[in-house]
C-alpha cells in the first residue's frame, strides 16, 4: 500500500475486520497510528488492535476501564499496544487482508491465554467438528 491511495479513514479503515491470507480473522481495526510526511500530510503507519486501542475511542468510564484493565493484564514484554505495520496490508475490501498469519503476529494475547489455559484442556479441542 505504498502507492499513496487516499482513503476516508472513518469509512474505509476504522472498525473493519482484519484477516490473514487464509481468511482467518485476526482483529478489528481498533485504531490507527498516523505520522506526518515531510510536507506535513498525515499518512497511516499501522493498525492498532485490542482493548487498549479501542478503549480511548469508546470514551467514557467504560472505555477507560477497558484500556486500564488490559494495561494491567499485559506482561512487561506486551507493554506496547499490539500493532500491525501498514506495509503488511495487501487488500482493502469488505475486510482488510494482511500478508501475515495471526500466529506470526501475536496481536491477541487473550486468545493465546484462553487457548492454553481453558480450551486446550477440554477434550476434542484439536479436532474440527464432526
Amino acid at each position: 500500500m505504498s502507492d499513496g491511495r487516499e482513503l476516508d479513514l472513518q469509512l474505509h479503515l476504522l472498525d473493519r475486520q482484519v484477516q490473514d491470507p487464509d481468511r482467518r480473522m485476526i482483529c478489528k481495526v481498533d485504531d490507527l497510528e498516523l505520522e506526518l510526511d515531510a510536507s506535513g500530510r498525515p499518512y497511516v503507519t499501522a493498525i492498532l488492535a485490542g482493548p487498549r486501542a479501542l478503549g480511548p475511542r469508546l470514551g467514557g468510564r467504560l472505555g477507560r476501564w477497558m484500556a486500564a484493565i488490559a494495561g494491567r493484564l499485559a506482561t512487561p514484554e506486551e507493554s506496547e499496544i499490539p500493532r500491525i505495520d501498514f506495509a503488511q496490508v495487501t487488500e482493502i475490501g469488505s475486510a482488510i487482508t494482511i500478508a501475515r498469519t495471526s500466529d506470526e503476529l501475536n496481536v491477541a494475547p487473550l486468545e493465546g491465554w484462553l487457548d492454553r489455559h481453558v480450551i486446550a484442556r477440554i477434550p476434542g479441542s484439536l479436532h474440527e467438528s464432526e
Partner: protein, 409 residues
C-alpha cells in the same frame, strides 16, 4: 438429496424464530384468549423477517461478514457496543428460556421435575455446539423441528369452518370483552417473537459458516422464502388450534402442557407424542441458535475468530463466550424463576431491541461499496423502510404497554 437439505439453515432459523418456547407459549396463549384476531401481527412479522433476513443473507453472501461485524463498522464503536449489550442481553435471556423449555418438554414425558434436567440439558447443548458439525446440526434440528407440523394435522382433524377461520385472519378485529391496551401488548409480543434479532445474527453467521459466496444468494433466498413462511404457518396453526379447542372452554394457557392440550384433543395419544418430540426438537434447535448467537455477536463486534468451521483451539475466545453463556443460562433457570415468565419478557424486550439490529442491515445492504451491484432494489427498500417505521413504533410502545397492562393481564 442435497437440494432438500439446502434449505435447512432457513428452516432451523425459522423454527428458532417462530416456534421456539417463546412463540409456542405466546401463540397458544393469544389463540386461547383472542382467537385468530391477532393473526395480522404474526403475518406482518413473517413479511418483516423475510425482508430483513433476505438482506442479511445477501450481505453475508457478498461480503462474507456477519451482521455484528458490519453493525460496528457502520454505527461506530460506541453505538455498536450499546447495541451489542442490548442484543446480547435479549439473546441470553432467550437462551435461558429455551434451556428451561427443553427441560419442561422432557418433564412432560418423564414427570421428573424440570429442574433436575436442566444441568443435563445445558451439558448436551454445549457438547453439540462444541463437537457437532454445523451442517449436521442444522439438518437434524431443522428437520426434527418440522414434527410440529402435527399442529397443522390437528387443525385439519378439528375440521373447523375454513371460511370463518380465513375471515378471522383477514379482517383484524378486537374481541369486545378485551381491553385495547392488552390487545396491542400481545400484538407487539407476537411481532417481536416473529422478528427476534438473533434470527438474523444466526442466519447470516450460518451463511458465513457455510462459506456462502455471491453465487449462493439464490440458496440464501430459498432458505428465507421456504423457512420463514413455513415457521410462520406453524405458529398460526398453533394459535388456530388453541382458538378452536381452548377459547370456547375458557382455558388459559400458562404451562407447556396447556400448549400441547389442543393436539391431544384433536389427534389423540400419537399426536401428543409427536408434539412433545416437536417441543424438544424446536426448543433444542432454538437453544443452539441462541447459544451460538451469543458467541457470534460478541466475537464479531471485537473481530475475534469465530465459528464452527475452525478448530475450537483457533477460536478460543468465541468458545469461551459460548461456554460462559451456557453456564449463565443454566444458572438462570436454576434460580427457579418460571421459564414461561422469562419467555414472555424476553419476547417483549426483543421488540425493544429490534431497530438496533434492523436499521444497520438496511443501511449496509444499500451501500454499493460493500454490495456492488447486489444492493437493494426499489421494492425491497420501500417495504423495508415501511417496516422500519412499524418496528420503531413497536419498540417505543413495548415497555409502556408492558407496564400499563402489567404484562398483558
Amino acid at each position: 438429496m442435497k437440494k432438500i437439505f439446502a434449505a435447512t439453515l432457513g428452516i432451523l432459523t425459522a423454527i428458532g424464530g417462530f416456534v421456539d418456547i417463546g412463540d409456542l407459549v405466546t401463540n397458544a396463549l393469544v389463540g386461547s384468549r383472542y382467537g385468530l384476531s391477532l393473526a395480522w401481527a404474526t403475518l406482518g412479522g413473517i413479511v418483516g423477517i423475510c425482508l430483513y433476513a433476505e438482506m442479511s443473507g445477501r450481505v453475508a453472501a457478498v461480503t462474507g461478514r456477519g451482521t455484528f461485524d458490519l453493525v460496528r463498522e457502520r454505527l461506530g464503536p460506541r453505538f455498536g457496543l450499546a447495541n451489542l449489550i442490548a442484543s446480547f442481553l435479549v439473546t441470553i435471556l432467550t437462551f435461558t428460556a429455551e434451556i428451561g423449555g427443553i427441560a419442561l418438554s422432557i418433564e412432560l414425558v418423564t414427570s421428573v421435575n424440570y429442574l433436575l434436567w436442566v444441568p443435563l440439558v445445558g451439558l448436551a447443548v454445549w457438547l453439540i455446539i462444541w463437537r457437532v458439525k454445523f451442517s449436521l446440526l442444522e439438518d437434524v434440528f431443522g428437520l426434527l423441528g418440522l414434527t410440529l407440523i402435527v399442529y397443522a394435522v390437528a387443525l385439519w382433524q378439528l375440521n373447523p369452518g375454513w371460511g370463518d377461520l380465513l375471515h378471522q385472519i383477514a379482517v383484524p378485529h378486537k374481541p369486545h370483552e378485551e381491553g385495547l391496551l392488552p390487545y396491542f401488548y400481545y400484538a407487539i409480543a407476537l411481532f417481536g417473537a416473529a422478528m427476534t434479532p438473533y434470527e438474523v445474527f444466526f442466519f447470516s453467521s450460518g451463511g458465513v459458516e457455510e462459506r456462502w459466496t455471491k453465487k449462493d444468494i439464490s440458496t440464501s433466498r430459498v432458505n428465507v422464502f421456504i423457512g420463514f413462511p413455513l415457521g410462520g404457518l406453524l405458529s398460526l396453526c398453533i394459535a388456530a388450534v388453541a382458538a378452536l379447542v381452548l377459547l370456547p372452554r375458557n382455558i388459559q394457557v400458562d404451562t407447556l402442557g396447556g400448549v400441547s392440550l389442543p393436539v391431544a384433543v384433536a389427534a389423540g395419544k400419537i399426536g401428543l407424542a409427536v408434539v412433545i418430540l416437536g417441543f424438544v426438537a424446536a426448543t433444542f434447535g432454538a437453544a443452539l441458535e441462541t447459544g451460538l448467537s451469543c458467541g457470534y455477536a460478541v466475537s464479531q463486534y471485537f473481530g475475534w475468530q469465530w465459528g464452527k468451521f475452525v478448530k475450537p483451539r483457533n477460536a478460543a475466545r468465541f468458545h469461551v463466550v459460548v461456554l460462559l453463556s451456557v453456564v449463565v443460562a443454566v444458572g438462570g433457570v436454576l434460580t427457579t424463576i418460571d421459564p414461561i415468565t422469562i419467555t414472555e419478557y424476553s419476547v417483549v424486550f426483543s421488540a425493544v431491541a429490534l431497530p438496533l439490529t434492523y436499521f444497520p442491515i438496511l443501511v449496509i445492504s444499500n451501500d454499493p461499496d460493500y454490495m456492488g451491484d447486489k444492493v437493494n432494489g426499489r421494492i425491497s427498500n420501500t417495504l423495508a423502510t415501511l417496516f422500519l417505521g412499524v418496528i420503531l413504533v413497536a419498540a417505543t410502545a413495548a415497555i409502556p404497554l408492558m407496564l400499563l397492562t402489567k404484562a398483558g393481564q
